[in-house]
Symmetry: C2
Subunit: 356 residues, 2 copies
Amino acid sequence: MSSTAPQVAAAETGAMLRALELAGLGVRGANPLVGAVLLAPDGTVLGEGYHRGAGTPHAEPAALADARERGHDARGATMVVTLEPCNHTGRTGPCSEALLDAGVARVVFAAEDVNGSASGGARRLRAAGVEAVGGVGREASLELNERWSVSVAERRPFVTLKSAQSLDGRVAAVDGTSQWITGAEARADGHRLRAIADAVLVGSGTVRDDDPRLTVRAGAAAPVSGMALRVAMGLTPVPAGAAIRGEGFIHLPTRDVGAALDQLVERGVRHLLVEGGPRIAGAFLRAGVVDELVSYVAPLVLGEGAPAFPGLGIGTLAAAPRWVLDDAGGPAVQRLGTDVRLHLRPPPGVPAASHH
Amino acid sequence: MSSTAPQVAAAETGAMLRALELAGLGVRGANPLVGAVLLAPDGTVLGEGYHRGAGTPHAEPAALADARERGHDARGATMVVTLEPCNHTGRTGPCSEALLDAGVARVVFAAEDVNGSASGGARRLRAAGVEAVGGVGREASLELNERWSVSVAERRPFVTLKSAQSLDGRVAAVDGTSQWITGAEARADGHRLRAIADAVLVGSGTVRDDDPRLTVRAGAAAPVSGMALRVAMGLTPVPAGAAIRGEGFIHLPTRDVGAALDQLVERGVRHLLVEGGPRIAGAFLRAGVVDELVSYVAPLVLGEGAPAFPGLGIGTLAAAPRWVLDDAGGPAVQRLGTDVRLHLRPPPGVPAASHH
């Protein structure tokens, strides 16, 4: 151990490895993956917890609750957690206060909270006389939350692009028919994506043509963060009777991806799911702001019809971005009923260009 | 057991199940999958074998050789085999004679040989005084070799279409660049496909543009049937110095898929691998003669460029053939390095239209 390493007990290092493991169980989305382990002064594990997604308890309260359920007292205990405890009241109360209320004596955390509004938890704890040691397992924690950190740092929503296409890359047949290219399992999986996003966006042309509701289907896994914001983007007027309208709907009358993202992040959207149509998909890809691509491929051969990603302006093979199969959050390549689901992240070394 | 069931001993039924299992170990291609188990009169297993692909021993000689290696004598034994022993000399001698030479006393087989030139083995055996009982496990054997049987019945080669494309269904960028869309692992797998085919076909336009050699790469799994015939199809002249030329090359100057298949089956081609380009791929699909589709999908987004399957004339979604993920011969969906391999069979109930 180098002389600059934080002073922690072996039991705490072990607990941090376990906390990182727990963090990975969380839902991959815009919220950070955080795990926590509560240790007794003698190193015994009193409780464990992790963050299950937006709107659910943070990892530390989850670990405190787990300890209570097991009949353990947190007073004098050490909280080992992969991210600096938050210090703000969002959909849940500040973790710093929860730790103080429980009588935790020491906090060992991996990475500092880079989210301006939530940071400061370590300072708050120290002011109240609690030992707070940061940096243990910092690299692993940052890696786990790389995309979330980037998103916070770039001050735009983390963008997931969902695409449902034929084997030969078409999202509609020549006559425009597109329902349904993929089967029931793939469509249900798409609804699951909606359930973990803060907002779901389609082009206003798609609203006019397909009249989607963009709600999470009843029977899909219950949304954990309430219903996502439903967003129509583009210059086409949204008809008064459109199914997308109602509470939680907004129309962004712009074709500028950067401007749309700015407005969304101002409304508190941290995770945006872009569902198309193809022109919108192409625009987000061209803007270089797609952080995650989920592609449902139906083994259907259409030959012609609307292409999945038009207007990219790629002239030669060497200029084409080569996405990477990504096993984070589940297998990168999955069979879903009659179809195939690919989970992809952007090419390495080619960070999503900021629109700022 | 119904009164019409063939009279076989329990040990023979068990051996047939094992023979079917062995058959499934064979290389999926144009040759039938066949397995064989040699039983002593008391039901002891003396030897096992299966057909490993064109040009290698049939299942029965393989089982006889296995018995010999184990020090067993085949005289008076029973051969349990999933397909009626052949009665013709192809790349190997007739199995009926091999069984007679070995002194086998009884043969239990599952399905009759539907291949006109090879059938008649049971009759030959009976004429020589060997008991030959057919029909045990017939359905399972036919199912295993359904596509081979269809191919023999339709008197055209079994056609595998290989395609290498971007995620969005492009086989080349706007400027025509296409080397390489897929990575090394996918390309090596493509060479493996060549190694088990009797002939490899590309369009004559592709020959002019890409000058492919169509040989099996040194270092790939050794071809089991010698080098496949290399075929250029189409009206574009094949340049004198084209890499495809040489022994084992033919040019079929036609755009008619049916005519090309007729010529190939006359030359003894039982398994044809069609490698493109896209116009050829589209023509074979349109003709309804593709029995198997192997699609390598690179997670590359090209946006525009040559489409994988042009000219199909499909106007609406309901008219698009929905291929089926096929686990025969290995997982239908496989990750191959940076890419994904899909193995597909034609839609059920829509048999490949005969060109006759």
